[in-house]
Amino acid sequence: MIAAPLLEIAVLVLGMLILLLEAFAAKIDKRLLAFAAITGLVIVLLASFFVARSPSLSDAAGFWSFYTADRLSIFFKQFALVTTIFVQIMMIDYAPVLRSSFAGSTSQAGLGEFVALPLFTCAGLMYLVSAIDFVFIFVSLELVTVSFYVLISFTRRNPLTLEAGMKYLVLSALSTAFLVYGIAWIFGATGQTNLYRLTQALANPATDSGAALLGIVFVLVALGFKVAAVPFQIWVPDVYQGAPTPVTAYLSVGSKAAGFIVLIRVLQPFMNLPQTQPLIFVMALLTLIYGNLAALPQTNLKRLLAYSSIAHAGYLLIGVVCFDVRAVAFYLVAYLLMTLLSFAVLIIVAQQTGDEISDFDGLAKRSPFLAFAMLIGMVSLAGVPFTAGFLGKFYIFYAAVWQRQIALIVVGVITVGCGFYYYLKVVRAMYWQLGDKTDAIGVNALSRVAISTLVLATIWLGIYPQPILDALRR
């Protein structure tokens, strides 16, 4: 058995090693660094299945009072590791684009840092899902955010990327300020930062729950920014479109999953207050409507995926309103698979033609493999049975029907209809439209394996979800 914090330490050490190699071994092929990172992450992933449980929350002390290794956190550590592995694979495909941004220097300039930075993000995500103390949540969230500042504006010669980096920096700093301010209010009202002791403090009638509620509203603003919930979603389309595509994928999966897991942990003590649920209810409703309606007219696939990520935040928020942790977690897993799948195909196709939807015209002729993978990704995002996306929606709506959230259900059904429209637009482009180019698109072996894995996993989870549900049982 391994102590849980060793996993994060291993990832951090791996990241530093790669930075050192990048600095001192200048002659090697930099793609080797990516392979080394992937190998290291796979080893950590395997190790994460043999982690010793932490003491229970009530008698945790010292380190364990702000760090937990419960089932949920281990599961999401694995989630973060898997995401990072796939993002690294995409980065290898993305290397040629990166080169164009570092003109004048060697052909592989920048690739080393590009590979190393996600490892620090990954460590941050892994700390974040284990954090049960507001201070620790803040620190690990900053570790994630700071590494994203660099990653988003990595291809710095592209003005769109710079714009994206700037927007993310300003708005993210603002949301951090909200988070700190909220934590201060909560601490002031209850005298606690540990979430478990906070529950007890809030149950105490002497506590000023009004002040604590004000605090949680500020915290919700900050977390709403992370998960891209309306009305804190303004940054999403521009940043998603401008950022290097693997980073966009990472942002939309890793950042969102961590945001939701923190949201659930943070909300747990506050769910007893009657005002909390309506707050999230309103957020969910707005997010569903805005994300889906705004996605309808999009013509750029990256932008479409940005709005779709807002839309999926809406479905996830339905799960948060019903406070069904397993439904949210399963949806996140499904979302991971189908989003990474779509981005993996997008990266390869975008290098050949571009990232407009019309650039996908006739893809079925040029590369049946990529077109089929994209088809699975899109129908899963839309929620077609026998894909993971459908079961995710199924569990979410199951919880909503159970709690009789009529308004959310009605809006949800309509937005699912919208979803079919805009996701199938991509399918239409690939299969119905005829493109100008007809030359085949090559896919390297590693990407082929990664994409096939994602396709198979999407279908497999859509038919046999029990392993994930078992892993999530507490």
């Binding site: 839309a382 077609v384 199924f394 709506f397 029907v401 059904v413 429209y421 046999y464």
Partner: protein, 528 residues
């Protein structure tokens, strides 16, 4: 055997996608499926209300979800229908210009999905297979359609996607409205629990309405029918055959399988609404059909209209009416497939289906005229075709509902109006036949070739099945009556105060009367 029937088309679809010769594989798979379905049909026991050939693979014990398949009398009729129409559709398809493999894979997927839905005992997989069957139709219309194909494909996609999500909500609500102990995805368990009165009347009303709308959109119940004619007009002929012939029937099957046995109180509550809507199907859509100027639109509307009769049988909630609905489902599936098949061949030759530009085609295409004529007469409900058997059972079943001397009940009014629907359908069907095949032929059509000789096989198959069950409906009837009888009788014995029901089926021992008065003296028919 049931698994073979489901997965034969799906495996064939996969192998076609992987590069097997498209048409040959599809044809072989559909012939095998047809043979297996015929075997199941022949070997199913009459008078048996339970599922047979049951196989089960547990998926999620926690949710009591398992992949369970099996057939009973109702399923086997539907599976046979699906197998026959698939074979005919694949045979009619012929050579396809672009993406031939994908085209045949889509056809086979529809078939596999539909058969899977008919043979699933598990609620979840029923829904999932039904969706699996729907998806390829969007592609078929979008890629290989004609006319305004893209708009039609979008319309049907959005309509049916919303419909199936409403259906999904209804199914979730149905699952949740059972108490924890009897909550299961197994339809048999649910049905037993329902017959013990474990769903409250309130829940039944909500679930029934959701199911009615969810399935209703797929069945093209008035006023949710507007996607249908446009989609059928744009769809390639085999897709229209499968969609109108088989896919729509999944909705009807779902109502018969879920709503009728489990939600009698919900059905009673919404009867008036349903009767009004189905009259909208028969009368309003019927009149709209008369006004059509193109053959494909006319056929699309007529298939919407005929759904009204089947709804009348379901709404009547009597053994006779429900049985008639099943017979008509079977018959309508075959006849509309025949009509769409021939119409597709005509469009392939002439490039237009507007009545003004056609005429006299029977002279150059005698075989097509004959085949289409059979379809027309079947659709009208001429005695001798299975449609007639179904319609007459529905009319009798509906008319006797709530019959009291001196009082006129809504069902009597509905039946009388529905009978006028027969006149309407005669009007538009014969007019279409006259304008297409009779009269003076235009010069440009004088060189048109007749249907290729190979098409005699599917046409003969469809016509034979129609005539066969038209003359001997008793080979279908005893397969389904025991089930409906047990549905209606358990309801009677478990729900107190049955006098409050307005339906004759509940109030009187209908089953016995059916046996004495209407029972055809076929094989295996036992009087209980």
């Amino acid at each position: 055997m049931v698994l073979f029937v489901i997965f034969c088309p799906i495996v064939a679809a996969a192998s076609v996608m992987l590069g097997a010769p498209a048409r040959k594989t599809a044809l072989a798979a559909s012939i095998l499926t047809f043979a297996a379905a015929l075997f199941l049909f022949a070997s199913s026991e009459y008078g048996q209300a339970d599922f047979q050939h049951v196989t089960s693979f547990p998926i999620s014990p926690e949710w009591r979800l398992s992949f369970t398949t099996g057939i009973d009398g109702l399923s086997v009729v539907m599976v046979l229908l699906a197998a026959i129409v698939t074979l005919a559709a694949v045979w009619f398809a012929g050579a396809i210009e672009r993406y031939e493999n994908a085209f045949y894979a889509c056809l086979l997927l529809i078939s596999g999905g539909a058969i899977g839905a008919f043979a699933s005992i598990d609620l979840f997989f029923f829904y999932a297979f039904h969706e699996l069957a729907l998806i390829p139709t969007f592609l078929l219309i979008g890629i290989w359609g004609s006319g305004n194909r893209v708009a039609a494909a979008w319309k049907i996609t959005i309509y049916l996607a919303i419909g199936s999500f409403i259906l999904l909500l209804g199914l979730i609500l149905l699952y949740q409205s059972f108490p924890l102990g009897s909550r299961s995805f197994d339809i048999r368990v649910l049905r037993t629990a329902a017959s013990m009165g474990q769903i409250t009347a309130d829940a039944q009303r909500h679930v029934y309405l959701l199911l009615l709308i969810g399935f209703g959109i797929l069945i093209s119940l008035f006023p949710f029918h507007t996607w249908a004619p446009e989609a059928y007009a744009a769809a390639p002929a085999p897709a229209a055959m499968l969609h109108a012939g088989v896919l729509k029937k999944i909705g009807l099957y779902g109502l018969l399988r879920l709503a009728v046995p489990m939600l009698p109180e919900g059905a009673r509550y919404w009867t008036t609404l349903l009767v009004v809507l189905l009259l909208g199907n028969i009368i309003y859509v019927g009149l709209v059909t008369v006004a059509q100027k193109r053959l494909d639109w006319m056929l699309g509307y007529s298939s919407v209209m005929h759904m009204g009769y089947i709804f009348l049988g379901i709404a009547s909630f009597s053994v006779l009416g429900l049985t008639g609905a099943v017979v008509l489902i079977f018959a309508h599936g075959l006849s509309i497939a025949l009509l769409f098949g021939v119409a597709g061949e005509l469009r392939g030759r002439t490039g237009t289906l507007a009545f003004d530009e056609l005429g006299g085609l029977a002279r150059v295409m005698p075989f097509a005229g004959l085949a289409f004529g059979f379809g027309v007469f079947a659709a009208i409900g001429l005695p001798g075709f299975a449609n007639f058997a179904g319609e007459i059972m529905i009319f009798f079943g509906a008319f006797r509902n709530g019959w009291e001397m001196g009082r006129f009940h809504i069902f009597q009014i509905a039946t009388v109006l529905a009978l006028w629907g027969v006149v309407i359908s005669t009007l538009y069907m014969l007019r279409a036949y006259r304008k297409t095949f009779m009269g003076n032929i235009r010069e440009q059509w004088e060189k048109l070739p007749d249907l290729r000789p190979a098409l005699r096989v599917p046409v003969t198959l469809l016509v034979t099945a129609l005539l066969c069950y038209g003359f001997f409906p008793q080979s279908l009837v005893p397969l389904v009556t025991p089930m409906f009888r047990s549905y209606l009788s358990t309801e009677k014995s478990h729900i107190p105060n049955m006098q409050s029901y307005s339906h004759g089926a509940v109030r009187r021992p209908y089953a016995v009367r059916l046996n004495q008065e209407n029972a055809p003296q076929g094989r295996g028919y036992s009087i209980r």
